[in-house]
């Protein structure tokens, strides 16, 4: 079994303890609640976007360290991205957390810290819940299946 520190890296623990962009975004023009009934993780994603570009993303919710850190890191990553970039980012992120590696890790930036999740198949949904929720808030259809929204 892999070292727990590969999963719970300091950056993840930091973001779960002190989530960034946490709280309701009053001027949001996209809001979606995501819920995983199997474990009780719950997030609400707020996005403010204009002309196909994210101006600001925030979230509220409660859940495990992985889901909260993933939501926090995601809100940072979404800022200033176009919808096309977000789709590409999510595709790579999904590959990362299910397979542990990705061909071009550079544009994932800090999100690569969640690569350890791939060793724990039961926890993949924790990492992807905020993403599926954000894509729904942006009304983006994806090929990855989600049953949580």
């Amino acid at each position: 079994m892999s070292d727990l520190r590969d999963l719970y890296q300091e950056l993840i623990l930091d973001h779960s303890r002190l989530p960034r962009n946490f709280g309701k975004l009053e001027q949001a023009n996209g809001v979606q609640e995501g819920f995983n009934p199997l474990c009780g993780d719950r997030v609400i994603i707020y996005v403010c976007h204009s002309e196909g570009k994210i101006l600001q993303a925030q979230f509220e919710g409660c859940g495990c360290a992985i889901s909260m850190a993933s939501a926090s890191l995601m809100t940072e990553a979404l800022k200033d991205k176009t919808l096309e970039q977000i789709v590409a980012l999510f595709t790579d992120f999904h590959t990362l957390v299910t397979q542990g590696v990705v061909s071009e890790p550079n544009h994932l930036d800090k999100l690569t810290v969640l690569a350890g999740v791939a060793e724990y198949p039961m926890r993949v949904k924790c990492a992807t819940l905020p993403w599926h929720t954000a894509l729904a808030a942006l009304k983006i259809q994806t090929t990855q299946r989600s049953s949580i929204i």
Binding site: M1, L4, R5, L7, Y8, L13, R17, P37, L38, C39, G40, D41, R42, C62, G63, C64, A65, I66, Y120, R123, C126
Partner: protein
């Protein structure tokens, strides 16, 4: 206790001895149960109640023998009061669907805050279909049901009470005999969800005087996919079938179908024959060990677990009745139960984390999830010691400088 009878426990996961503390979800199986299933498929497999050949006779005999074993186990008056289902969930669905057709708009059903979704949703559905009201027994701070409030929930439209024997989240034992008596004084029938009780304490349905009692095989050291609905024959006889098809009929024509007698009336289709035989073997195993031994061992172990958990000063142990049966739920502030479960899994310790299919109870407790540690006859003190060590060690990761 009887640990050697459970072959699965004798294994290492990633070099560490497996410590199984998730028996409330599914108990491990003794070799005699595995043998019974294997023997059935190797020697006797055939469909039951149909064939004229020897294998069908043997299969039918083994299947019906299992029914008799279960009848004696819960002291039902008749073997035909034991209906085989796929588990406690289907047992309750059967009762709800069938009884629903005997109930009328304006009638009321009482459930408790402690219930598993499987003892809430079927009744909710019937209420919606028929136009009935669902009423809920509240939970007190001490982790026990509010019996005073329970008494006040009854009125002349109360038809049924659906209640767990032992809470699958808190380990509280409900005073069901007293609660059944009260329901009967108000002419309401009672269904008891015994899924978390039957492996831990003796159940006598005649003494309890419950109208229905539901449980699952997999929590009773038996196979999954098999369960039981006990019903008083007076009820089962007047209830309509819940599923229809082969085996549950006496005569079929396109004009009319006459239903078979009990228990066949409720067992349409080929049942889980090996499951029933395996469950029969599991029950015989539990009877052979004996509840005197089981209760003494598990009570000692539960006391030890509760005592050792005090070492984790940050952990909140959810209150339950004394004695407490089978399960303990804990919450550790700032650390989500799923993260703790992953930490423990790294030490080959299996526990359950989540809302335990009890969202209304979670809301009442003000928690989104708990960590549930559950015990079976095979657990021992060394395993609890290792659990505490792993919890302390793992929590360090999350609580820098924290007092755990």
């Amino acid at each position: 206790m009887r640990r050697k009878d459970f072959p699965i426990l004798n294994q290492k996961i990633a070099g560490k001895n497996l410590i199984y503390l998730d028996t409330a979800a599914s108990a491990q199986k003794p070799q005699v149960v595995i043998n019974a299933i294997q023997n059935y498929y190797q020697q006797n497999n055939a469909n039951i109640h149909r064939g004229i050949h020897t294998l069908s006779e043997r299969a039918t005999q083994a299947f019906e023998q299992a029914r008799k074993v279960i009848q004696k186990f819960i002291n039902a008056q008749h073997d035909y009061e034991i209906i085989f289902t796929s588990g406690a969930t289907e047992s309750i669905n059967l009762a709800a669907c069938s009884l629903g057709r005997l109930l009328e708009a304006g009638d009321e059903i009482i459930v408790s805050t402690l219930e598993h979704h499987s003892n809430i949703v079927p009744w909710q559905m019937v209420c919606e279909q028929v136009g009935m009201q669902l009423r809920v027994i509240p939970l007190l701070e001490e982790g026990v049901l509010d019996l005073k409030a329970y008494a006040e929930l009854f009125n002349n439209r109360t038809r049924l009470v659906a209640l767990c024997h032992v809470s699958h989240v808190l380990g509280t034992i409900n005073p069901i005999k007293e609660m059944i008596e009260m329901a009967h004084q108000h002419h309401a029938a009672v269904l008891i969800d015994g899924a978390q009780a039957v492996s831990h304490l003796p159940v006598d349905v005649q003494d309890l005087d419950c109208d229905f009692y539901a449980f699952s095989g997999q929590k009773l050291y038996g196979p999954s996919g098999i369960g039981v609905l006990y019903g008083k024959s007076s009820w089962l006889k007047k209830m309509p079938p819940y599923k229809t098809g082969g085996g549950m009929i006496r005569r079929v024509s396109f004009a009319k179908t006459e239903y078979a007698d009990l228990p066949a009336k409720f067992e349409a289709g080929t049942p889980h024959i090996s499951g029933a035989i395996g469950l029969g073997a599991a029950v015989e195993f539990v009877q052979e060990v004996g509840f005197t031994e089981i209760m003494q061992h598990e009570n000692e172990l539960m006391s030890y677990l509760l005592e050792q958990l005090k070492q984790l000063t940050a952990a909140q142990v959810l209150k339950a009745s004394r004695p407490q049966k089978g399960v303990v739920s804990i919450i550790i502030p700032e650390v989500h139960p799923h993260d703790i479960a992953t930490i423990l899994n790294n030490d080959a310790i299996a526990v359950r984390a989540g809302n335990h299919c009890a969202m209304p109870l979670m809301e009442r407790l003000g928690a989104s999830a708990t960590l549930r540690i559950s015990l079976g006859m095979y657990n021992n003190q060394q395993e609890i010691d290792q659990l505490i060590v792993s919890l302390k060690e793992g929590l360090k990761l999350f609580q820098r400088g924290g007092n755990v």
